[in-house]
Subunit: 486 residues, 2 copies
């Protein structure tokens, strides 16, 4: 676990944690304690540092000692996670201050986002008290912190191993969409934070932290409302100059803005302003969650090795190749014909010749000689090596490894996919030409995770791959004048 | 099986079929005979009419009598499916003419689409011979005919029961994308035809047939090149005036057009011209295959009952609802707040109240009282009935029935989905308000098929549903001046 001297760093490395308001009733998964205690136990925080629960009705919950109040906990507490109703929050803040707590995360909704003047005032009062005492607040109305390696989490079944992607989100649901969605594709996180109303700590605080954090190489985020526009701009500029940053904005229409206002009390602001802000700072604005997931997958795989917009497409032929070519071209990539000499070379050793080696290259070859590493390793490797060395190939998009697998079991498919991924990773490493794999059903076991570890992205469709890769290429061109990343 | 007196009708109702060039080697699925014989046997043509095979090396294949040539078949033959190499096609045409065959489908590629002058001339000669003799050609370079009910097919595992959708495709791969893709969603077909090079029978012939065919209510198609523009325009106008028609165009970019030219020898033409042609005639132009699938699903479910663009969205809350509202609004739908009186009514019986009944309506309600028919039937029905009767609800989009099903088995999920579908279908029938179900993983067993039979569409994402529904609404507005469908 890499530490550094940013003022927020201690929040991500608490030396003792208490979960206040743990549940005495079994939750969704049949366990007592509620989602936060369960997620933290699953991540193993208690194996590293003291973990406490607070609820006057219990003395122990799932092996965790439970106390009537924060003040009753015998040892020091750095971080408190609160699940208690909003009405009790102010008193809890007082107790936490008295206890010397460094940070308080409040899950509970029902303060400023309601728009009720007295609840807005209450939230303001809580923030003022905490700040005066040097205690920081995460939330309220949010899921809080995910710090793999340290053992903090707010969701079950997220990776224990830390990674290089920082995730921030004003929404808990979209935090989980990013953590699960990117996790399935093999991305791993340095830290994750869901910050809800942003009463104290806000987007700009976390962007500033992510810029300084040596563990973070990439940043993804979901923002409903920009609070403190000037600080946000400055933090985003600092961050996006040094680390690829992808932001999704909620409330970009008036219907969405109304929903955002109900959700986190955010004033969504104009999408034009937000887009301009991203363009100015070199950050990406992802228009949809799927775009964010696709872009993050492509960027973490290829940002450093992408070379140009000329794609050689190797996969199904016929009408499928026609539509695939259209999609690539519509997104601003190119599908140039392979030079005549390269086509000749391919025809020399691929038994079924024809226009299908032009680009798109038909990998099915009448089923008798399909290009498929698990069918004919030598032939397939030779074809790919020939193609990646063509001067017209900046990048390969391929459905090889996916199209022949319909009738097999998940285990066989996963095994074949892994073997295929290893071959592509080796060719990509030797040639420096990025290879993007396309597979209809993305969840061939953990094949996508395996692919990402090998530096290859497994994408769900030609169109989604094309859109994300085109975004990456455009961004590289726009950034040509900015300093290079480390 | 409905017959009519269109000149092409006999082609779809052959009284005897011969498959020429059946394979002596086991194919993909381990069976002798090749894909066409296997697909037809699976559909059961041989139970209705005489089925023959032709290959001089065998006297029987999978129970089908096999002869050295078409002329050796003892009985009459109406339709011949040819898998022999292009070089033998001209002789086969002569034999078929001598035998009195009505239609010949040639699978084999390698004629005009190669661009080689002598092969173009050969194709022209074949067409001239066939026409002079009154025999029609399907192809070459295509998959031919799918006629459920009659027993003709070119693919395994497609429905045996006929339906009301006519499918035409210049590409075999895209024919299968439509048949499988729409089949999984419960749509069923009157006829399907993959016509490849369109040497004799072309798009306009099939459009003309579909307009006249009483079994056909909707038409989907994939076109690479418009042959005979004037006839195409006139046939499409006639068809789209009476039946909703959705066309996907391949080769809409120069890279795609090059691929289309290699594939079927098509001159793809300008996309602007094709779009104008669709607009003029009242047909849809689907920009991508996914759009065609989504639109066909929505159109066959709601074309006759859709009322307006005001959507009430019932599902997950928070940031998910924010992004969903944005997507609906971006596609030109609206998410208006429910009237205060309706919100009051909902708050009256939904235990956890708040802004979440405004629209979007949060169906999760803190997990204790989720809106879910299989959790609390009465509460859920009352909530939906209240919402569909709001004057602000033209249509409901809902994720209810999907979001609580993550941890269950496929069987349990399918059972719950079917029960939920039945509830929604009943509410839709009673109220006349279309209910669009959104479910992340579309393949909950056969739930999508069940939904379509009940008149409800199960869509893979809010965004895809919004895009398709918005297209439908726009088309209804554009068509306001055209005659109503039957």
């Amino acid at each position: 676990v890499l530490r550094h001297d940013h003022p927020l760093d201690p929040i991500f490395h608490p030396r003792a944690v208490a979960v206040v308001g743990v549940s005495t009733r079994p939750s969704f998964d049949g366990q007592l304690g509620g989602i936060f205690l369960n997620a933290i136990l699953e991540q193993g925080y208690q194996e590293r540092h003291p973990l406490y629960a607070v609820n006057p009705k219990m003395t122990e919950v799932r092996g965790v000692p439970c106390y009537p109040s924060v003040l009753d906990i015998p040892g020091p507490v750095d971080h408190v996670i609160s699940q208690i109703p909003a009405a009790g929050l102010e008193r809890l803040v007082d107790e936490c201050i008295a206890k010397g707590v460094r940070s308080l995360h409040s899950f509970t909704a029902g303060l400023a986002e309601t728009g009720e003047p007295e609840l807005v005032a209450e939230q303001d009062r809580i923030v003022a008290k905490a700040r005066a005492a040097g205690m920081r607040l995460v939330g309220p109305n949010c899921m809080g912190l995910y710090v793999p390696g340290v053992g903090l989490s707010f969701m079950p079944r997220v990776a224990h191993e830390p990674g290089n992607v920082f995730m921030l989100s004003q929404s808990g649901a979209n935090a989980s969409a990013m953590l699960y969605g990117l996790g399935r594709r093999g991305l791993r996180f340095s830290k994750g934070v869901s910050y809800g109303n942003g009463a104290d700590l806000r987007a700009h605080d976390f962007l500033d932290y992510a810029a300084a954090d040596p563990q973070t190489e990439y940043v993804v985020g979901y923002i409903e409302g920009v609070q403190d526009g000037r600080k946000f701009l400055s933090a985003l500029r600092k961050l996006a100059t040094v680390k690829p940053t992808i932001l999704l904005k909620g409330g970009i229409t008036s219907d969405g803005a109304r929903a955002a206002n109900s959700h986190t009390g955010s004033l969504a602001g104009s999408i034009e302003v937000f887009e301009a802000l991203c363009r100015q700072t070199g950050a990406w604005h992802a228009p949809r969650m799927d775009d964010l997931l696709d872009l993050a997958t492509v960027v973490t795989s290829y940002a450093r090795i992408a070379r140009g917009r000329n794609v050689t497409l190797i996969g199904a032929g016929g009408g499928t190749a026609v539509l695939a070519s259209d999609q690539l071209a519509l997104h601003g990539l190119r599908v140039p014909p392979l030079p005549e000499a390269v086509q000749e070379e391919l025809r020399g050793f691929i038994p079924v010749a024809g226009t299908s080696v032009r680009n798109p290259v038909d990998a099915t070859f009448g089923r008798d000689h399909p290009l498929d590493f698990t069918h004919d390793r030598e032939l397939t490797e030779r074809a790919f090596e020939t193609i990646v060395h063509s001067p017209t190939t900046d990048m390969v998009f391929t459905t090889v490894g996916g199209s022949f697998l319909r009738d097999e079991t998940v285990e066989t498919r996963e095994h074949r996919m892994r073997a295929t991924i290893d071959e592509f990773a080796a060719i990509q490493r030797r040639s420096g030409v990025p290879i993007v794999m396309i597979h209809e059903e993305q969840r061939v076991g953990n094949a996508a995770v395996h692919a990402h570890r090998r530096g290859v992205a497994l994408m769900p469709s030609i169109e989604r791959a094309a859109r994300a890769v085109a975004e990456l290429m455009e961004w590289r061109e726009v950034r040509a004048g900015l300093p290079a990343f480390a």
